[in-house]
C-alpha cells in the first residue's frame, strides 16, 4: 500500500528572507528605472537645446548670404542685433509694359527663371540690373502692386519658353529702362535680435517688414530660448575680407565679408544624471560663419 508523499513547504524564516530580498531587489530596480527616466528626460532636453541652436543657426545664414553690404543691405549691425535687406525673390523679366515687369516662371529644376522665398508684395524693393553701359548697376524701385497673369512666351531678349505659364506681374513706382531679359532681385528688410519674451525667456526674434505701413512689425519669436545677452545668448560678430574683426558699431557700408553668429542655449532642467548630480543646467553653443557672397 502506498503512503501519501509529504509535500515540501516554506518555513516562516524562509518567507521573511525571500520577502526582504525581493524588497531590496525592487528598490534597486525602481532606483535604476528612475535614473533611466531622468537620463531620457535629460537626453531629450539636450537634444531640444541643440535643436533650438541649430534652428537659429540654420535660418540666419539663408538671409545673410545674399546680402550686399556695398548696396546698403546691412541697415544696422550690432553685436546683439542685425537689420538687413533680405533677398526674397529673383527673376528674369519676361516682358515689360510701362511701369510693370512680368517675371519669368518659377520652375523646380535648374531651368528656372524665377525663385521666391516669400511672396512679393507692395512696399518691397525691386533691384533691376541695368546693363546699358559697361559698368552695370542695380536700380532700386519700389513695388507698388503685385498681380499674376498667364503668359505664353517672353518678349524678345527674355528666355525662350514653350507653353503657357503663370507669371507674377510687378508694378513699380517709377518707369525703368528695363526690358525683357533683365534680371531683377526683390529685397525686404528684416531685423533679427535677442529679446525678452513675456515669460522672461530670451528668444531670437525677427521683425518682418510691414509692406503697408512701411515699418518693421512687432517682434516675433523665431527660435529659443537662449541664454541672456550678458551670457552670450546670441552674438553677431563682423569681419572684413582680411579676416580682421570690425568693431561695434559697425559701419553698414564697411567692407564686411563675413558675419559670425554665435548662439548659446541652456537645457530646461539641471543635469542630475549626465552632469554627475550637478545642480547646474547644461549649456550648449553653436557657431556659424556666414560668407557674404555679394560683397562686391
Amino acid at each position: 500500500m502506498l503512503t501519501p508523499r509529504s509535500r515540501p513547504g516554506f518555513t516562516l524564516a524562509e518567507l521573511l528572507i525571500a520577502l526582504a530580498a525581493a524588497a531590496v531587489l525592487l528598490a534597486v530596480i525602481a532606483s535604476i528605472a528612475l535614473r533611466q527616466q531622468r537620463l531620457f528626460a535629460e537626453l531629450a532636453d539636450d537634444a531640444a537645446t541643440t535643436g533650438r541652436l541649430r534652428e537659429a543657426i540654420a535660418m540666419l545664414p539663408i538671409d545673410l548670404r545674399a546680402v550686399s553690404p556695398a548696396s546698403g543691405d546691412i541697415r544696422e549691425a550690432r553685436d546683439t542685433s542685425l537689420e538687413i535687406r533680405a533677398t526674397i525673390a529673383s527673376a528674369i523679366v519676361c516682358d515689360t509694359g510701362g511701369h510693370t515687369l512680368t517675371l519669368g516662371p518659377a520652375l523646380s529644376g535648374t531651368d528656372t527663371f524665377a525663385a521666391f522665398l516669400a511672396t512679393v508684395a507692395a512696399g518691397d524693393t525691386a533691384w533691376v540690373l541695368d546693363t546699358r553701359d559697361a559698368a552695370e548697376g542695380w536700380i532700386p524701385r519700389r513695388v507698388t502692386s503685385v498681380s499674376s497673369t498667364t503668359a505664353a512666351r517672353c518678349a524678345n531678349g527674355g528666355p525662350v519658353l514653350s507653353g503657357p505659364f503663370t507669371a507674377i506681374v510687378v508694378a513699380l513706382d517709377t518707369l525703368l529702362p528695363g526690358r525683357a531679359g533683365t534680371v531683377v532681385r526683390v529685397t525686404r528688410p528684416v531685423r533679427y535680435s535677442l529679446y525678452r519674451s513675456s515669460d522672461g525667456s530670451w528668444q531670437l526674434g525677427a521683425r518682418d517688414w510691414n509692406t503697408t505701413s512701411l515699418r518693421l512689425n512687432t517682434i516675433q519669436p523665431v527660435a529659443g530660448p537662449f541664454l541672456p545677452p550678458s551670457a552670450g545668448g546670441l552674438v553677431f560678430s563682423y569681419f572684413d575680407s582680411n579676416g580682421a574683426a570690425v568693431t561695434n558699431p559697425v559701419d553698414p557700408r564697411a567692407g564686411l565679408a563675413l558675419v559670425r553668429v554665435s548662439a548659446r542655449a541652456q537645457a530646461n532642467r539641471a543635469a542630475r544624471v549626465l552632469g554627475a548630480a550637478s545642480t547646474e543646467r547644461r549649456a550648449d553653443s553653436l557657431d556659424v560663419a556666414v560668407f557674404l557672397h555679394n560683397r562686391r
Binding site: I29, R65, S71, G109, T110, G181
Partner: protein, 316 residues
C-alpha cells in the same frame, strides 16, 4: 527513484528585467547619439551641397568657351551635368541662359546621387564685358575708300534681337574722306568713323583684347596670302590681302586695307583707321554685314564675369 523537484524561475525574471533596463539605457544613448550625428550630418551635407553648387558655377564660368556659352543664342538655355572634383557622391547640374546685354543667368543644382530631392539651387548672374558698340556698317574707314565693281554687300538676317542689323549703309567713312564706289552701293559719311573707339583701338580696348581667346594682334604691317580666319584680327599697321581670303568676325587695321589682288569673302565687319590721305581698296569683295558674328567673337574673346553687388542668390 525520487521525482524531480519543482524549480523556481525568479532569478531568470530578475536577469531579464535587468537586461531590459540595460537595453533601454543603451537604446536611449544610441538614440541621442544618432540624433546628434544626423543633425551634424545634415549641417555638413548642406555645406557640401552649397560648396558643390558654387564650384559648379565657377567651373562653367571659368571655361565659358569650352561650355559654348559664347555661342548661346539669345534666350536659349543650355544645361550641363558636371562631376565636381572630390565630390563623386553628388550630382551637379548647371543651366545657363543668355539674356540681353550679354547677361548670363546661371542656376546650379547640387544633390546627393542617392536622393535627388534633397538638393541646393544657387543662382549666379554673370555678364560678358563689352568694349563698345558693334560696328555700324560692314566697312568703316577713317580715310579714303575705293570699292571695285566686284564688291557685293549683304546683311546677315539670321540674327538675335540684341544684335540684329537694321537698314545700314554698306560703308561709313569719316567726313573729308573721298569715296569711289560702284553705283547703287550706299556709303555714308559720319563723324563716328573718325573716333578710335569705333575701331576698338583705345588703350583700354586694346588692353582688354590683348591675349584674349580668338584674338590675333599683329604689331606691324601685315600681309595675308590666302586662307581663312575666324575671330578678331587687329593689325597695328596696314593690312594687305592676296589670293583667296575668307574672314569671319572682326578685322581692324590701324592703317589701310589693300585687297587689290585678292578675292575676299567676309562675314562680320572690316574697320580701317587709315589716315585721311591713304585709301582702303577693296576690289573683289563679298561681304556680309553680321553684327551678331562680331558680337560672338567678342564674347569668345572677353570671358564673362559675375556682375557687381547682387550676382549671387540662393534658390529654394
Amino acid at each position: 527513484m525520487s521525482p524531480a523537484r519543482p524549480r523556481r524561475g525568479i532569478a531568470l525574471v530578475m536577469a531579464l528585467t535587468l537586461l531590459a533596463l540595460l537595453g533601454l539605457a543603451i537604446a536611449g544613448g544610441m538614440a541621442h547619439t544618432v540624433a546628434s550625428q544626423r543633425a551634424a550630418t545634415l549641417s555638413q551635407n548642406a555645406a557640401t551641397l552649397d560648396a558643390a553648387a558654387d564650384r559648379a558655377l565657377a567651373t562653367v564660368l571659368a571655361d565659358a568657351n569650352a561650355y559654348g556659352l559664347s555661342a548661346l543664342r539669345l534666350g536659349q538655355t543650355r544645361a550641363f551635368n558636371l562631376d565636381v572634383a572630390d565630390m563623386p557622391q553628388l550630382s551637379t547640374t548647371v543651366s545657363v541662359t543668355r539674356l540681353t546685354g550679354g547677361v548670363l543667368w546661371m542656376v546650379a543644382a547640387a544633390s546627393p546621387r542617392a536622393d535627388v530631392g534633397a538638393g541646393r539651387r544657387v543662382n549666379l548672374v554673370a555678364r560678358f564685358p563689352t568694349i563698345g558698340a558693334l560696328p555700324p556698317a560692314a566697312i568703316v574707314t577713317r580715310g579714303n575708300l575705293r570699292l571695285g565693281d566686284g564688291v557685293r554687300f549683304g546683311v546677315d538676317t539670321a540674327q538675335d534681337a540684341d544684335c540684329a542689323a537694321g537698314p545700314v549703309p554698306a560703308a561709313i567713312v569719316a567726313p573729308g574722306a573721298t569715296v569711289r564706289a560702284p553705283n547703287g552701293v550706299r556709303v555714308d559719311t559720319a563723324g563716328v568713323a573718325r573716333d578710335s573707339a569705333t575701331y576698338y583701338l583705345t588703350q583700354a580696348d586694346v588692353a582688354s583684347l590683348a591675349m584674349a581667346a580668338g584674338v590675333v594682334h599683329a604689331t606691324g604691317d601685315t600681309t595675308i596670302a590666302g586662307g581663312t580666319f575666324e575671330g578678331i584680327l587687329i593689325v597695328d599697321g596696314s593690312l594687305t590681302l592676296h589670293g583667296t581670303v575668307a574672314l569671319s568676325g572682326l578685322v581692324v587695321a590701324r592703317g589701310a586695307i589693300d585687297a587689290t589682288d585678292a578675292v575676299v569673302s567676309a562675314r562680320g565687319a572690316l574697320l580701317s583707321f587709315n589716315a585721311s590721305n591713304v585709301s582702303t581698296i577693296l576690289t573683289d569683295l563679298s561681304v556680309e554685314y553680321a553684327p551678331c558674328v562680331v558680337a560672338r567673337v567678342m564674347r569668345v574673346a572677353l570671358s564673362p564675369r559675375v556682375v557687381r553687388l547682387r550676382s549671387w542668390s540662393e534658390f529654394f
